[in-house]
């Protein structure tokens, strides 16, 4: 586990020392691949049974699940970055110094997210999440370009998230306090031990805890109405980073909520937590669907769609029960494959047309057939239409809702999903079709980087499609072990 944490740090340092050499990209790719190799055995063990280490670190199904997503997206994004950064350098948006900063921070970012997933101590988890904010904010704002909009986005991002997350820390403190009153002697912050004493904790205290944590980590996870930093940050960040942000960062934040959920629920009962989560889920879906409908900027559109999908995940978690949680976790996976794919694609479109405004971009399908096709598939997947992956998880959650008889929730869900479908499809069909008369600055596609870029995107698109019609057993069992680590053993 320590090694897993060390590898990205080392990679970061190397990348930073390389002074923006052209090879830096390949080094970072090698680093992330190495990370993947090193992590495989640990993750495999973690899926079967929880491992704890050094008191502060702990891994079980859930952490392994999120961690493998972090690592996968780390690889994808690192590979994508090679040509992306190359192109940025070519068009002069970035200098050597920027490159070293970019890759250095990139791997630090990965490191912080890994730390979130493996930390057993709630305060440590908080530290890690706060750290992700800081690192990614720097990546957005000062990463390499000093565009005012990027700075504005970063400023809002860091302020809102820091403010929000403060409450999460407060919640953490109160948890510690509540544990004192149970243990008598002195409090604990270790999730594994808190889990044991959870039923004994004071319900009203834990309600307070959950409110603070929900507001805190909810801000970071982009639940409306705490989401306002998200569209700015995601649309202004360089595309590989946007991919990481919406693909996995939001999920790590929500991971924090899930951890607290399994401490809070035993004492307060699932009704309180469930209703709160469902409420936030519905609000997020509603607001985001409206914004998607009238969005004029395709990266912001994708950002709002992230809010919608976080809403769906929160809804699934709130509905509760093994199958709803299964759906939520599956949705996390599906979303964090499809959304990064779309951000990668939009990054290339932006590089080609030099604009993120929908009305400035036309005829992608005819000009860049490969890219256009992937975008088309990705957009449909995000819009939640079969035979793509996201429909499956959405339907699973809906089914769980029907099981519980939550018809108003189901109805609202369907309405919002339809609106979102309309929004996304109308937005992207305006981009994809038609013939563009706007002259474009063209996209250089020579070099091995470009090839790798395309390979990665193709693989992700394939996964999006395959997961829509076939869920392999290892994924299934992984998700179930994740569900177990939230609901406790004995589930399935």
């Amino acid at each position: 586990m320590i090694t897993i944490l060390l590898i990205p740090v080392v990679t970061a340092i190397i990348c930073y020392l390389l002074k923006g050499h052209r090879l830096t990209g390949y080094v970072s790719m090698a680093g992330s691949l190495l990370l993947a190799l090193a992590s495989i055995p640990v993750i495999r063990d973690a899926f079967s049974s929880g491992i704890s280490e050094a008191g502060l670190l702990y891994m079980d199904g859930l952490s392994a699940y999120i961690m493998s997503l972090v690592i996968f997206l780390g690889i994808a994004s690192a590979i994508y970055s090679i040509h992306y950064i190359d192109h940025e350098l070519h068009v002069g948006l970035i200098d050597k110094d920027g490159i070293r900063r970019y890759y250095g921070l990139f791997h630090l970012f990965v490191f912080t997210m890994l730390l979130v997933t493996v930390s057993n101590n709630l305060a440590l988890m908080w530290i890690a999440i706060e750290a992700t904010t800081i690192v990614s904010a720097v990546l957005i704002g000062l990463g390499y370009t000093k565009r005012p909009m990027a700075i504005e986005a970063a400023w809002k991002y860091i302020i809102l998230c820091t403010v929000g997350i403060t409450f999460a820390l407060l919640g953490t403190f109160i948890t510690y306090y509540a544990s004192i009153s149970v243990r008598g002697t002195e409090g604990i912050l270790n999730w594994t031990e808190l889990r044991k004493v959870a039923p004994g904790l004071n319900p009203s205290t834990m309600k307070l805890v959950f409110i603070f944590v929900l507001v805190g980590y909810g801000t970071k996870a982009g639940l409306a109405p705490l989401h306002n930093w998200l569209p700015d940050a995601h649309s202004e960040a360089p595309s590989p980073i946007s991919a990481l942000l919406s693909g996995i960062l939001l999920n790590t934040a929500f991971y924090g909520i899930m951890r607290f959920l399994s401490i809070v629920e035993p004492s307060t009962g699932s009704l309180f937590t469930g209703n709160l989560l469902i409420l936030f889920g519905l609000i997020s879906m509603g607001i985001s669907s409206v914004f998607i409908l009238v969005q004029e900027n395709y990266k912001r559109l994708l950002a709002y769609s992230s809010i919608e999908h976080m809403g769906i995940i929160s809804l699934g978690t709130g509905i509760g029960g093994p199958f709803a949680l299964y759906g939520a976790l599956l949705h996390i996976l599906n979303h964090s494959i499809a959304k990064p794919l779309m951000f990668f694609a939009s990054g290339m479109i932006q590089a080609h047309y030099g604009s993120t405004r929908i009305d400035r971009v036309k005829g992608v399908l005819s000009r860049l057939p490969f890219l256009g096709t992937l975008t088309f598939l990705g957009a449909l997947s995000l819009a939640g239409s079969p035979p793509f992956n996201i429909f499956i998880s959405e339907f699973t959650i809906l089914k769980a809702g029907a099981d519980k008889g939550l018809w108003p929730v189901v109805g609202a869900f369907l309405v919002f999903v339809v609106v979102v479908f309309y929004g996304i499809l109308s937005g992207f069909s305006r981009i994809l079709f038609g013939n563009s008369e706007t002259e474009t600055q063209g996209l250089r596609i020579e070099g091995s980087g470009a090839v790798l870029q395309r390979i990665v995107m193709f693989v992700m698109a394939a996964v999006v499609l395959i997961l829509g019609i076939w869920i392999p057993d290892f994924i299934d069992s992984a998700i179930w072990s994740g569900v177990r680590s939230i609901l406790g053993e004995g589930v399935r």
Binding site: I127, T133, W155, I159, G187, D232, R300
Partner: protein, 219 residues
């Protein structure tokens, strides 16, 4: 042995002082003075930590109190004043709403906190009121961030929130494992520093430290 009652009263006294400095922040007109208010607030905080340390004789709490004093009470104020100077902003706070109104609202916030944190949540320990106070401080800090126009004042508001947080932390938990405290502290420090840098950047990019200019991204 220590006289509990007395200590109690002292704890309350100090924490109320923290609250008052926070409220006072809403009355401040000039940036320097709000920075001062923060400094005082931090000193009181470290003092409180010291008292707690003295009570339960935890060594690392003394250390924590010391660290708090140095970082929050000395380093950050100096850093802030430096930024204020080099940004050469007008030294007015320029709130959106009148100080009187913001004072009333902050009072209201305190009331809300006391009303909503009902009995039965905090039974044990000497910190019955302290949590309310700290939460009030946090909310007031947030409120300040909402009402103040300048980037730098937002940083100050954030700092107040953190103080409130630390107050809660130490009073509720008698201090957590050292590493955690240090980690939290370090995070905070990093955050503040980054924010400071950003504030400067904003000043450069937007030719103003008014956050009103930061509304390019909308919709």
């Amino acid at each position: 042995m220590k006289n509990w009652i007395e200590v109690f009263s002292i704890v309350d006294f100090v924490s109320v002082g923290i609250l008052l400095t926070a409220v006072a922040l809403n009355g401040m007109r000039r940036l320097e003075s709000s920075v001062k208010a923060y400094a005082v607030n931090s000193w009181l905080l470290s003092a409180l930590i010291g008292i707690v340390a003295f009570m339960i004789g935890e060594f690392h709490l003394y250390a924590a109190s010391l660290v708090t004093f140095i970082s929050k009470g000395v380093v950050i104020p100096i850093f802030l004043r430096k930024i204020v100077r080099e940004m050469k902003v007008t030294h007015e706070v320029e709130p959106y709403i009148s100080n009187a109104l913001s004072l009333t609202i902050s009072g209201l916030l305190v009331a809300i906190v006391y009303a909503s944190l009902k009995e039965g949540i905090f039974i044990t320990g000497f910190s019955r009121n302290v949590l309310q106070i700290s939460l009030a401080v946090i909310l007031i800090g947030l409120f300040t961030m909402i009402t103040r126009r300048k980037a730098i004042t937002q940083v100050i508001g954030l700092l107040f929130m953190e103080n409130g947080l630390f107050l809660a932390g130490f009073s509720l938990t008698y201090g957590m494992p050292m590493i955690i405290e240090l980690g939290v502290l370090f995070d905070m420090l990093m955050g503040i520093i980054i924010l400071g840098i950003f504030a400067v950047q904003i000043k450069r990019a937007f030719a103003s430290s008014d956050l009103d200019k930061l509304t390019i991204l909308k919709g």
